[in-house]
């Protein structure tokens, strides 16, 4: 239980400046970026500056049986950072040093509180990049994005966060510090702990260091926008581009609702009568880009694109991505709140899932804009609601339920990149079955038998 004694112990090991316990501060750690989840104030917030600090915090938490919620920048979309059972919020934002950048081995060693963009700014000085680029690159921490296994716009060609993690240092629930991995490309020693801890949402351990892979920055890029008057044609074009052996860095889709909303608010010149637009970027060596861009253009045309714009200048390129970047902000203008899902299906099923979402929107009389990373099947059906309208909130919940079921029935998954967190815990059996969920639970209990780390997320104690 939390008492003033705990507070004093925390202050003793961390110093006053790293412990927040006034109500006015606690309120500001009661939420993250997730809509429609409960907000709960923690008992205390701590900002450790070293691994040793983290170990001490975990020991105190163990002694008093108080839960710990690791937190980066609090931008996740699944309620992962909310202290729903009260206790200690441990934010890593002060552990924000880039410890090493090794251009010979193409690696970087960072503390968990480093902001993704800050790592990129450092990498680019060596002509390198760290490819995972969620919409929150300039705010999210490395620790948080690794714990969610964030994706982003470049997932199709460059993969997601888990493809760039080479090793970690981590504090376990019992206070032990473990390390693994290294700068070698090959490493098969032991179980693959990297796979286990990437995307663990802070429920298995607290990351204190990360060794990540960097790659050479692509030399050139080219962007196109293709307009379709039929969803199936757009869907066929997506698969056909890949079939033609071109893997674009980015292959995004926006549906009719999204196009209309974006156009309404930005006047970027999108065709509002279109059923879908694809926004595509190929990158790499200049020669490669010059070969691939025309292939993409041809394939879109063959699949019935009614209009294709190829960006000739940087300004034209920016205009294309301006439209895509404005999808979320524009939908946000329609009503006060957004519920952003990330149901994901195999790329060949994109038209089917968009049609399903449309049917669901009609059934529950909701406005749902769908856009997202078509190339990797990761869509963001975005439901706009007014949280003051209880009836609408209720309809939204039912719609979310059906969207998940639709995704699973199309051989997809509940979450492509936002994580399970609080909201999706109850859907986990849909995807894993009882035995599957039990296996996840046994892993959790082997590492954290008392559910001290981020309780209430991902998997809960058996009732």
């Amino acid at each position: 239980m939390f008492t003033t004694e705990v507070l004093h112990e925390l202050i003793k090991v961390l110093g006053k400046e790293n412990v927040l316990s006034e109500k006015e501060d606690l309120v500001t750690y009661s939420y993250d970026a997730t809509a429609a989840v409960p907000s709960v104030e923690p008992d205390v917030v701590v900002t450790p500056t070293s691994t040793e600090h983290v170990v001490e915090i975990v020991k105190i938490a163990n002694r008093y049986k108080i839960p710990i919620y690791p937190r980066g920048s609090g931008t996740n979309l699944s309620g992962g950072a909310i202290p729903i059972k009260k206790g200690i919020v441990l934010t890593t934002q002060k552990m924000n040093k880039i410890l090493e950048l090794d251009a010979d081995n193409l690696t970087a060693m960072v503390q968990p509180g480093v902001i993704i963009q800050d790592l990129n700014n450092e990498a680019v000085k060596h002509g390198l990049i760290y490819p995972p680029d969620p919409g929150t690159v300039s705010t999210a921490t490395m620790g948080g994005s690794v714990s969610e296994c964030s994706g982003g716009l470049r997932g199709l060609k460059y993969g997601v966060t888990k493809h760039y993690i080479m090793g970690m240092e981590l504090v376990l629930a019992n206070g032990d510090v473990i390390k693994w991995g290294g700068k070698t490309v090959k490493n098969v020693s032991g179980y693959d702990l990297t796979a286990l801890f990437t995307g663990a949402e802070g429920t298995l351990g607290i990351i204190t260091k990360l060794l990540v892979k960097l790659i050479p920055a692509p030399e050139a890029r080219k962007s196109l926008l293709a307009v379709f008057d039929d969803l199936d044609k757009a869907g066929n074009a997506i698969s056909d581009i890949i079939r033609n052996k071109v893997i674009p860095a980015t292959l995004e889709i926006m549906d009719k609702v999204t196009i209309g909303t974006v156009e309404n608010f930005t006047h970027a010149g999108l065709p509002t009568d279109a059923e879908a637009v694809l926004l595509i970027e190929v990158d790499g060596y200049k020669e490669v880009v010059e070969r691939e861009a025309p292939v993409v253009e041809r394939v879109c045309r063959e699949n019935g694109a009614v209009d294709i714009k190829v960006a000739k200048t940087d300004q034209e390129r920016d205009l294309i991505w301006f439209a895509r970047r404005n999808a979320l902000p524009s939908l946000a203008q329609v009503k006060p709140a957004l519920v952003l899902e990330d149901a994901t299906v195999p790329r060949s099923k994109i038209p089917n899932v968009i049609k399903e979402i449309r049917r669901i929107a009609e059934k529950y009389n909701l406005m749902i804009g769908t856009y997202g990373h078509a190339g990797d099947g990761n869509l963001h059906p975005t439901i706009v609601i007014d949280p003051r309208d209880q009836d609408e909130v209720h309809r939204m919940e039912q719609a979310v339920d059906e969207i998940f079921k639709a995704a699973i029935s199309l051989e997809g998954t509940l979450s492509g990149e936002h994580g399970i967190g609080i909201g999706k815990v109850k859907y986990l059996p849909l995807e894993f079955g009882e035995a599957g969920v039990n296996t996840i639970r046994r892993i959790k209990e082997a590492l954290d038998p008392n559910y001290l780390l981020n309780p209430g997320k991902m998997v809960t104690k058996e009732e």
Partner: protein, 427 residues
């Protein structure tokens, strides 16, 4: 219902905040403190709880609300266009309504309100400045406080003018063939410290055949009071200024301070909302108020012939309330580029807040200094000789930072360079 009279007025803005956290990327306070209360999202959640009755308006809460330079960087980076500046001003006004004003600020605003007292204080201050402040050896660098009275001993203040700007001019500065008559709203900093800046404004206007009226009844713009929630004082000051210019009979009002500009363009209308007499006056002048850069580029346009050469490398700092507050950022650059010999070298992030924010730097001197350090490092990186900006408050902060960093740059208002160029041309 305006943001100054009721916290309920910001409910519609609060509900637009989706807690995405994008504001973290740009907030100068957050970058230094790494605490969630620093950022807009944190303070928005506090205002929400306050409105729901889930927290009390404590001293602690009022302190949290003081953690904002009102730089509006979060507004600009918000996917949902949440007008955070309005939210924070409303929250501070609410804090004052419920808890009263901080005692030190009470004294400051009272002095600002009572013009004559202030004039007297400043005049004696000018004579006695040497007692309390230590002049910095060398150029006309200004002075540092001898004793730390909570303002930080490192801050370099400009020397007080021996004679206030307004008292050294006739009420009307005439020109032979006036094409326009404008009223010059000087603001406090020009009146008491930066008289050189005020002179440059008058010189440039008259060089462009514009007659300048300087009403002597004008006073403080009231922004220091309104951003701190002292709405009663702010209203008094607004009325006094509105009346002064209403009587003056000018075609337009010219300002060269970004806060004064925001006052005339935005705050007065909101402060006077519902006032039977002054609302109409405020609304009228709002449309006729121009920042000097804006006026010279968009309204006059200023004479390009007769500009003399000044060979100088210059960098430009965007004042928050000119750039994001009034959308003026191209005009000052256009003026600089039109001066023969000036080479404009942009710094990294010219639009990032300098950390001055009026009384913010008094209440949070350490934080203000840290924010300023980043700016000064960016300035140093340009290897220029002169820093130009568009606001006397920024000038003070940048000057202090430059001197403390041991740099050799001169900090001036854009208009001073233009005046210098005209003078050079006349030689």
């Amino acid at each position: 219902m305006s943001i100054y009279t009721s916290l309920d007025s910001v409910k519609e803005y609060l509900i637009k905040c989706m807690k995405c956290g994008n504001c973290q990327a740009v907030c100068p306070i957050f970058k230094e403190t790494l605490k969630e209360v620093g950022v807009a999202r944190g303070k928005i959640s506090l205002v929400e709880r306050l409105l729901d009755g889930k927290i009390e308006m404590t001293e602690g809460l009022a302190d949290r609300f003081s953690l904002c330079t009102t730089c509006m960087a979060c507004n600009a980076n918000c996917p949902n266009a949440v007008p955070f500046d309005k939210i924070i001003l409303a929250a501070r006004a609410e804090a004052v309504r419920r808890k009263g004003l901080h005692p030190i600020k009470k004294v400051i605003f009272k002095t600002l309100k009572l013009q004559r007292l202030f004039d007297f204080g400043m005049k004696t201050g000018s004579k006695f400045q040497g007692l309390a402040m230590k002049r910095i050896e060398g150029k006309d660098y200004g002075a540092r406080l001898r004793f730390d009275v909570g303002l930080g001993k490192d801050k370099v203040f400009p020397n007080l003018a021996p004679k206030t700007f307004r008292s050294s001019y006739k009420k009307v500065v005439e020109v032979p063939h006036p094409k326009m008559r404008v009223g010059f709203f000087t603001g406090c900093m020009i009146n008491y410290f930066y008289t050189d800046m005020g002179k440059a404004v008058v010189d440039v206007l008259t060089a462009n055949d514009i007659e300048v009226i300087i009403p002597s009844e004008q006073g403080c713009c009231g922004i220091p009071a309104s951003v701190n929630g002292d709405i009663a004082s702010a209203k008094d000051m607004a009325k006094r200024n509105l009346q002064a210019f209403e009587n003056a009979g000018a075609d337009a009002i010219i300002v060269s301070c970004s806060s004064c500009g925001s006052a005339w363009k935005h705050s007065y209308g909101e402060l006077m909302e519902g006032d039977p007499e002054y609302q109409a006056i405020a609304d009228k002048w709002k449309k006729k108020t121009y920042d000097i850069n804006e006026f010279l580029v968009k309204v006059v346009p200023f004479k390009k012939e007769g500009l003399g050469r000044i060979d100088r490398k210059v960098t430009y700092h965007d004042p928050c309330h000119l750039n994001r507050g009034q959308g003026i950022n191209k005009e000052p650059r256009e003026i600089l580029k039109s001066i023969p010999g000036i080479q404009l070298i942009e710094m990294k992030e010219p639009g990032r807040c300098c950390g001055m924010a009026g009384s913010f730097s008094i209440v949070h001197p350490d934080l203000s200094l840290k924010i300023s350090d980043k700016k000064i490092a960016d300035i140093a990186g340009t290897k220029t000789e002169t820093v130009a900006t568009g606001c006397p408050a920024c000038r003070l902060q940048l000057h202090s930072g430059v001197v403390n960093a041991g740099l050799d740059q001169n900090v001036v208002h854009v208009i001073q360079l233009l005046a210098e160029s005209y003078a050079e041309g006349r030689k």
